[in-house]
Protein backbone atom coordinates (compact mmCIF):
# COMPACT_ATOMS: atom_id res chain seq x y z
CA UNK A 1 0.00 0.00 0.00
CA UNK A 2 1.29 3.43 -0.91
CA UNK A 3 1.15 5.80 2.08
CA UNK A 4 1.74 9.55 1.84
CA UNK A 5 2.33 12.07 4.63
CA UNK A 6 2.05 15.85 4.47
CA UNK A 7 2.95 18.92 6.53
CA UNK A 8 3.70 18.16 10.21
CA UNK A 9 2.64 14.53 9.82
CA UNK A 10 5.43 14.21 7.22
CA UNK A 11 7.91 16.06 9.45
CA UNK A 12 7.17 13.93 12.52
CA UNK A 13 7.35 10.61 10.66
CA UNK A 14 10.45 11.83 8.86
CA UNK A 15 9.44 10.89 5.32
CA UNK A 16 7.00 12.00 2.63
CA UNK A 17 5.75 8.51 1.87
CA UNK A 18 6.44 4.80 1.83
CA UNK A 19 5.07 1.54 0.49
CA UNK A 20 4.08 -0.89 3.24
CA UNK A 21 2.66 -4.39 3.31
CA UNK A 22 -0.44 -4.09 5.48
CA UNK A 23 -1.84 -6.99 7.55
CA UNK A 24 -5.08 -8.19 5.99
CA UNK A 25 -7.02 -7.68 9.25
CA UNK A 26 -6.76 -3.89 8.90
CA UNK A 27 -10.15 -2.86 7.56
CA UNK A 28 -10.55 0.88 8.19
CA UNK A 29 -8.57 4.09 8.24
CA UNK A 30 -8.78 4.20 12.05
CA UNK A 31 -7.40 0.65 12.30
CA UNK A 32 -4.56 1.62 9.99
CA UNK A 33 -3.75 4.58 12.26
CA UNK A 34 -3.67 2.28 15.31
CA UNK A 35 -1.33 -0.10 13.46
CA UNK A 36 0.95 2.75 12.31
CA UNK A 37 1.17 4.19 15.84
CA UNK A 38 2.75 0.94 17.03
CA UNK A 39 5.45 1.06 14.33
CA UNK A 40 7.74 3.42 16.25
CA UNK A 41 8.05 6.60 18.29
CA UNK A 42 7.97 8.85 15.20
CA UNK A 43 4.61 7.36 14.18
CA UNK A 44 3.33 7.52 17.76
CA UNK A 45 4.19 11.22 17.79
CA UNK A 46 2.61 11.91 14.41
CA UNK A 47 -0.62 10.17 15.41
CA UNK A 48 -0.58 11.18 19.10
CA UNK A 49 -3.82 13.09 18.51
CA UNK A 50 -5.66 11.07 15.84
CA UNK A 51 -8.47 13.66 15.89
CA UNK A 52 -6.00 16.19 14.44
CA UNK A 53 -5.02 13.97 11.52
CA UNK A 54 -7.13 13.81 8.36
CA UNK A 55 -7.00 11.10 5.70
CA UNK A 56 -7.62 10.67 2.00
CA UNK A 57 -8.03 7.46 0.02
CA UNK A 58 -7.20 7.64 -3.67
CA UNK A 59 -7.09 11.45 -3.34
CA UNK A 60 -10.56 11.83 -1.79
CA UNK A 61 -11.25 12.97 1.78
CA UNK A 62 -12.42 10.10 4.00
CA UNK A 63 -13.49 9.55 7.60
CA UNK A 64 -11.79 7.26 10.17
CA UNK A 65 -14.43 4.54 9.73
CA UNK A 66 -13.97 4.40 5.94
CA UNK A 67 -12.89 0.91 4.71
CA UNK A 68 -9.47 0.82 3.05
CA UNK A 69 -10.37 -1.99 0.67
CA UNK A 70 -9.73 -0.87 -2.90
CA UNK A 71 -7.27 1.81 -1.81
CA UNK A 72 -4.22 2.37 -4.01
CA UNK A 73 -2.97 5.40 -2.10
CA UNK A 74 -3.74 6.55 1.46
CA UNK A 75 -2.61 9.97 2.66
CA UNK A 76 -2.45 11.40 6.19
CA UNK A 77 -2.25 15.13 6.88
CA UNK A 78 -3.31 17.90 9.29
CA UNK A 79 -6.54 19.84 8.69
CA UNK A 80 -5.97 21.88 5.54
CA UNK A 81 -5.00 25.57 5.71
CA UNK A 82 -4.96 26.84 2.14
CA UNK A 83 -6.68 29.86 0.65
Amino acid sequence: MRLLYFAWVRERIGRAGETLELPSEIRTVAELVTWLRARGPEYAEAFARPDLVRAAINQQHVKPDTPISGAREIAFFPPVTGG
Partner: protein, 160 residues
Protein backbone atom coordinates in the same frame (compact mmCIF):
# COMPACT_ATOMS: atom_id res chain seq x y z
CA UNK B 1 -12.41 23.26 -15.98
CA UNK B 2 -10.38 26.28 -15.17
CA UNK B 3 -8.17 25.35 -12.24
CA UNK B 4 -4.44 25.97 -11.94
CA UNK B 5 -1.98 25.05 -9.20
CA UNK B 6 1.34 26.76 -9.75
CA UNK B 7 4.47 28.14 -8.09
CA UNK B 8 4.45 31.28 -10.25
CA UNK B 9 2.62 34.50 -9.46
CA UNK B 10 -0.53 35.46 -11.39
CA UNK B 11 -1.86 38.70 -12.82
CA UNK B 12 -5.49 39.40 -11.92
CA UNK B 13 -6.13 41.69 -14.89
CA UNK B 14 -4.69 39.20 -17.35
CA UNK B 15 -6.81 36.38 -15.90
CA UNK B 16 -10.01 38.43 -16.23
CA UNK B 17 -9.09 39.37 -19.80
CA UNK B 18 -8.43 35.72 -20.70
CA UNK B 19 -11.70 34.60 -19.13
CA UNK B 20 -13.85 37.18 -20.90
CA UNK B 21 -12.06 37.46 -24.26
CA UNK B 22 -14.57 37.53 -27.10
CA UNK B 23 -17.59 37.19 -24.81
CA UNK B 24 -20.49 39.61 -24.53
CA UNK B 25 -22.86 37.44 -22.47
CA UNK B 26 -21.09 38.12 -19.16
CA UNK B 27 -22.41 41.04 -17.11
CA UNK B 28 -20.66 40.59 -13.78
CA UNK B 29 -17.16 39.54 -12.78
CA UNK B 30 -16.19 39.09 -9.12
CA UNK B 31 -12.60 38.35 -8.13
CA UNK B 32 -11.09 37.45 -4.77
CA UNK B 33 -7.34 37.59 -4.21
CA UNK B 34 -5.76 36.17 -1.06
CA UNK B 35 -2.33 37.56 -0.10
CA UNK B 36 0.36 36.79 2.49
CA UNK B 37 0.07 38.83 5.70
CA UNK B 38 3.32 40.09 7.24
CA UNK B 39 2.16 39.35 10.76
CA UNK B 40 0.52 36.41 12.55
CA UNK B 41 -0.52 36.42 16.22
CA UNK B 42 1.71 39.43 16.87
CA UNK B 43 4.74 37.78 15.28
CA UNK B 44 6.46 39.20 12.18
CA UNK B 45 6.48 36.75 9.27
CA UNK B 46 9.53 36.63 6.98
CA UNK B 47 8.01 34.12 4.55
CA UNK B 48 5.22 31.61 4.09
CA UNK B 49 5.63 28.19 2.49
CA UNK B 50 2.66 26.34 1.04
CA UNK B 51 2.82 22.57 0.71
CA UNK B 52 0.16 20.69 -1.25
CA UNK B 53 -0.87 17.22 -2.39
CA UNK B 54 -0.27 17.13 -6.16
CA UNK B 55 -3.12 15.41 -7.93
CA UNK B 56 -5.61 15.63 -5.08
CA UNK B 57 -5.28 19.42 -5.01
CA UNK B 58 -6.37 19.76 -8.62
CA UNK B 59 -9.12 17.16 -8.14
CA UNK B 60 -10.55 18.96 -5.08
CA UNK B 61 -10.45 22.37 -6.76
CA UNK B 62 -12.24 20.93 -9.79
CA UNK B 63 -14.90 19.37 -7.55
CA UNK B 64 -15.45 22.71 -5.78
CA UNK B 65 -15.65 24.51 -9.12
CA UNK B 66 -18.12 21.97 -10.54
CA UNK B 67 -20.29 22.32 -7.40
CA UNK B 68 -20.40 26.11 -7.86
CA UNK B 69 -21.46 25.70 -11.51
CA UNK B 70 -24.24 23.34 -10.39
CA UNK B 71 -25.55 25.88 -7.88
CA UNK B 72 -25.35 29.17 -9.82
CA UNK B 73 -25.75 30.17 -13.47
CA UNK B 74 -22.07 30.91 -14.00
CA UNK B 75 -20.61 31.74 -17.38
CA UNK B 76 -17.00 31.27 -16.37
CA UNK B 77 -14.83 30.62 -13.31
CA UNK B 78 -11.13 30.42 -12.58
CA UNK B 79 -9.25 29.20 -9.54
CA UNK B 80 -5.50 29.70 -9.24
CA UNK B 81 -3.66 28.61 -6.10
CA UNK B 82 0.07 28.99 -5.61
CA UNK B 83 2.43 26.71 -3.70
CA UNK B 84 6.05 27.08 -2.55
CA UNK B 85 7.66 29.99 -0.75
CA UNK B 86 6.03 33.43 -0.71
CA UNK B 87 6.80 36.75 0.94
CA UNK B 88 4.42 39.10 2.77
CA UNK B 89 2.30 40.94 0.23
CA UNK B 90 2.59 38.18 -2.38
CA UNK B 91 -0.50 36.67 -4.01
CA UNK B 92 -1.57 33.22 -2.77
CA UNK B 93 -4.93 32.50 -4.36
CA UNK B 94 -7.26 33.90 -7.00
CA UNK B 95 -10.92 33.11 -7.52
CA UNK B 96 -12.88 34.60 -10.42
CA UNK B 97 -16.61 34.09 -10.91
CA UNK B 98 -18.38 35.50 -13.94
CA UNK B 99 -22.12 35.50 -14.56
CA UNK B 100 -24.82 37.52 -16.31
CA UNK B 101 -25.77 39.18 -13.02
CA UNK B 102 -23.82 40.20 -9.96
CA UNK B 103 -25.59 38.18 -7.26
CA UNK B 104 -24.55 34.81 -8.68
CA UNK B 105 -21.00 36.05 -9.21
CA UNK B 106 -20.67 37.43 -5.66
CA UNK B 107 -22.15 34.33 -4.04
CA UNK B 108 -20.19 31.87 -6.16
CA UNK B 109 -16.88 33.62 -5.43
CA UNK B 110 -17.55 33.38 -1.70
CA UNK B 111 -18.65 29.74 -1.98
CA UNK B 112 -15.53 28.83 -3.96
CA UNK B 113 -13.30 30.38 -1.29
CA UNK B 114 -15.19 28.80 1.63
CA UNK B 115 -14.97 25.31 0.15
CA UNK B 116 -11.44 25.72 -1.14
CA UNK B 117 -10.22 26.69 2.35
CA UNK B 118 -11.76 23.63 3.97
CA UNK B 119 -11.22 21.04 1.21
CA UNK B 120 -8.18 21.76 -0.95
CA UNK B 121 -5.12 19.95 0.49
CA UNK B 122 -2.79 22.89 1.15
CA UNK B 123 -0.80 23.52 4.33
CA UNK B 124 0.81 26.83 5.31
CA UNK B 125 4.02 27.10 7.26
CA UNK B 126 5.07 30.52 8.49
CA UNK B 127 8.74 31.34 8.96
CA UNK B 128 9.64 34.12 11.41
CA UNK B 129 12.55 36.54 11.02
CA UNK B 130 14.71 34.33 13.29
CA UNK B 131 14.16 31.37 10.94
CA UNK B 132 11.80 29.43 13.21
CA UNK B 133 8.93 27.75 11.40
CA UNK B 134 5.36 27.20 12.52
CA UNK B 135 2.53 25.30 10.82
CA UNK B 136 -0.64 27.35 10.64
CA UNK B 137 -3.54 25.81 12.59
CA UNK B 138 -6.85 25.28 10.81
CA UNK B 139 -9.50 27.71 12.02
CA UNK B 140 -12.82 26.38 13.23
CA UNK B 141 -14.44 29.45 11.65
CA UNK B 142 -13.42 28.09 8.23
CA UNK B 143 -15.39 24.88 8.83
CA UNK B 144 -18.29 26.87 10.30
CA UNK B 145 -18.37 29.03 7.16
CA UNK B 146 -19.53 25.96 5.19
CA UNK B 147 -22.68 25.61 7.26
CA UNK B 148 -24.36 28.62 5.65
CA UNK B 149 -24.35 26.85 2.28
CA UNK B 150 -27.25 24.42 2.16
CA UNK B 151 -26.34 20.93 0.91
CA UNK B 152 -28.10 21.53 -2.40
CA UNK B 153 -25.60 19.54 -4.43
CA UNK B 154 -24.69 16.01 -3.30
CA UNK B 155 -21.02 16.38 -4.19
CA UNK B 156 -20.81 19.54 -2.08
CA UNK B 157 -21.48 17.55 1.08
CA UNK B 158 -18.88 17.47 3.79
CA UNK B 159 -17.23 14.09 3.47
CA UNK B 160 -13.95 14.51 5.26
Amino acid sequence: MSVRVQAEDFDVGREIAALTAGRTDIGAIVTFTGTVRGEAKGRAIASMTLEHYPGMTEAELERVEADAHARWPLDATRIIHRYGEMKPGDNIVLVVAASRHRQAAFEAAEYLMDYLKSRAPFWKKETAADGSGQWVDARETDEAALLRWSPKVPSAKVNG
